[in-house]
């Protein structure tokens, strides 16, 4: 069964003012358990607005949302438990840190869930390990840390709630390539270890192509497609028309195909491209005529 399901979900900002803006337009998606979903779309396409619906922070202007089969907004008192089920990490989450120590900040979510002290302690330590924070950092003030470390503390704060679905809004924005790789790595590890559902909003096709099992493409408030990376990048022409870049390696292979070297498969990660090239060069595999 789908953990997340939306029916004709629409959201309008500033209804009844001159600033009226349809940010999400008639979205129908079903996300299955255990997926690692990448959400892409150009600036202002409604990604952040869409994901804020999934844990009841925004109330849809029309349409329905189901989490684990339970309809949101039927009963307002059920919103809080659902927020524990769907963890949401905002863009620049380090700006929400407030406690004296990182330990306390990570413990904020679990504490709100009403867990026992022992359980809170276990979770804080476990997520700290998962995101690569050493024990001495836990006792420091979050305001003394570097940007990348702050980001990890903030992400850990949501992970420690052990939500069934973890949603991250551009978790790598504003980090250097190494920092990005580390954050993506820890998300991947978390996904593999917990086997739960993860949604990752990103601007980078490369990151999404490399990490995700499904891709949700948003285009001007609508869902353009929700499919596996192969199928999504198969439509690279359309993606480029929308102003979205496909991974560089895909472009290289598309160009090769245009020049008459058809490898017969869609390539969207460098690793796969290399494998394919090596196979063809060593004669294991033939080019398509």
């Amino acid at each position: 069964m789908a953990v997340i399901k939306t029916e004709n979900l629409s959201y309008v900002y500033g209804e009844g003012t001159p600033f009226r803006k349809v940010a999400v337009d008639n979205v129908n998606i079903e996300i299955d358990e255990g997926e690692l979903v990448g959400v892409i779309g150009h600036t202002g396409s409604g990604k952040s607005t869409l994901i804020q619906h999934l844990n009841g922070l925004l109330k849809p202007s029309s349409g329905k949302i189901f989490i684990d089969g339970e309809e949101l907004w039927l009963d307002k008192s059920r919103l809080r438990p659902i927020r524990f089920k769907v963890g949401l990490v905002f863009q620049y989450p380090e700006y929400q840190l407030f406690e004296e120590t990182c330990y306390k900040d990570i413990a904020f979510g679990p504490k709100n869930m009403g867990l026992s002290d022992a359980e809170i302690d276990r979770r804080v330590k476990e997520t700290a390990r998962l995101v690569g924070l050493s024990a001495d950092i836990l006792d420091k003030s979050p305001f003394e840390l570097s940007g990348g470390q702050k980001r990890r503390v903030a992400i850990a704060g949501v992970m420690a709630m052990e939500p069934k679905v973890l949603i991250l809004d551009e978790p790598t924005s504003g980090l250097d390539p190494k920092g990005r790789e580390q954050i993506l790595g820890l998300i991947r590890e978390y996904h593999q270890e917990k086997k739960n559902t993860v949604m990752l909003v990103s601007h980078s096709m490369e990151d999404v192509a490399k990490n995700c099992s499904k891709i949700l493409v948003m285009n001007s408030a609508k869902v353009f497609c929700y499919d596996t990376p192969v199928n999504v990048f198969h439509r690279s022409r359309e993606l480029e028309q929308m102003g979205l870049s496909v991974p560089q390696i895909t472009r290289v292979f598309n160009r090769l195909k245009a020049m008459g070297y058809d490898f017969g498969e869609d390539v969207y990660t460098v690793d796969f491209g290399r494998k394919l090239l090596l196979q063809v060069l060593s004669g294991e595999k033939k080019l398509k005529e």
């Binding site: 500033g14 001159p18 804020q52 844990n55 922070l57 809080r80 927020r83 524990f84 963890g87 949401l88 990490v89 905002f90 989450p93 700006y95 929400q96 840190l97 407030f98 904020f108 979510g109 709100n112 869930m113 305001f143 704060g157 949501v158 709630m161």
Partner: protein, 267 residues
């Protein structure tokens, strides 16, 4: 949510009222307030009401925005009405119970005051609907500039006001964002005792303060990088110019005030 605050909400547009010089608009708004408080009879007030409606119609702002601007002060209006009804004790007695005495004069004053306040709020919010905060502070700075001779730091005050106004929406947005983020971590701000709710504000206020300080520092740096050093010798991108619209509105307003004066003398 927080976004619904309309005071100071600017509605971009190109109506005659929008095109007026903000300085003239500001002065005329003050004249309008004087007009409201000058009128001593219902006929005088009627002139004020007509003026308000005319100005609103000319601005092409939807009329329902009138009610939106009134919403936050409904308690004040009700309070004023009750106060006047109960404490004006002169005039014909309409109804009496113990020491509560409602008189005709009381009702009269209450209605009078309510109409006055409503016109006042609607009229002044038209000023903020049709001029951006930046235009307004610029206008204030220009109008107060004679005070510079008295060593009043007019430019600095106006700059502070501009910055404060500029950052109100940013702060609101930021508060919204932080609130959402903490709610996503299960923060509960809506239930519990007052003390519990006050404590629930800590996770919002601390990040808000931290980011305000960061922002102030960045802004100061950015201003210095662009060689800002106070108002001395600063020129403006948008020159304020009075034009035909302004003269027409001045004449119309003067006529209305004249009407009120005449009514005051006659009635």
């Amino acid at each position: 949510m927080l976004k619904d605050i309309t005071i100071g909400q600017y509605f971009p547009g190109n109506s005659p009222v929008h095109r007026m010089d903000p300085r003239v608009k500001l002065v005329l708004t003050m004249a309008f307030i004087v007009m409201l408080f000058m009128s001593s009879s219902f006929y005088g007030l009627l002139v004020g009401i007509v003026y308000t409606f005319m100005a609103f119609a000319a601005s092409r702002i939807p009329f329902k925005m009138m009610f939106k601007s009134l919403k936050p002060i409904i308690p004040i209006i009700i309070f004023t009405a009750i106060l006047n009804i109960l404490f004006v004790r002169t005039g014909d007695v309409l109804w009496q119970l113990g020491f509560i005495r409602i008189t005709q004069q009381g009702i009269h004053t209450a209605v009078f005051m309510v109409v006055r306040i409503v016109c006042l709020i609607v009229g002044t919010s038209l000023l903020t609907y049709t001029s951006s905060p930046i235009e307004l502070t610029d206008a204030i700075e220009r109008l107060l500039s004679p005070l510079k001779k008295l060593k009043v730091p007019v430019h600095e005050l106006a700059m502070m006001m501009t910055i404060a106004l500029r950052f109100i929406p940013t702060l609101i947005e930021e508060t919204d964002k932080i609130m959402s983020a903490q709610k996503a971590r299960g923060a509960d701000m809506e239930t519990g005792s007052i003390i519990k709710r006050a404590r629930a504000l800590i996770p919002i206020l601390i990040p808000l303060f931290v980011s305000s300080f960061r922002r102030a520092e960045e802004l100061a740096l950015a201003m210095e990088c662009r060689c800002y050093h106070g108002g001395e010798g600063r020129t403006r991108m948008k020159q304020m110019k009075t034009s035909a619209v302004d003269y027409v509105s001045i004449v119309i307003t003067a006529a209305f005030i004249g009407a009120v004066v005449v009514i005051n003398i006659l009635v």
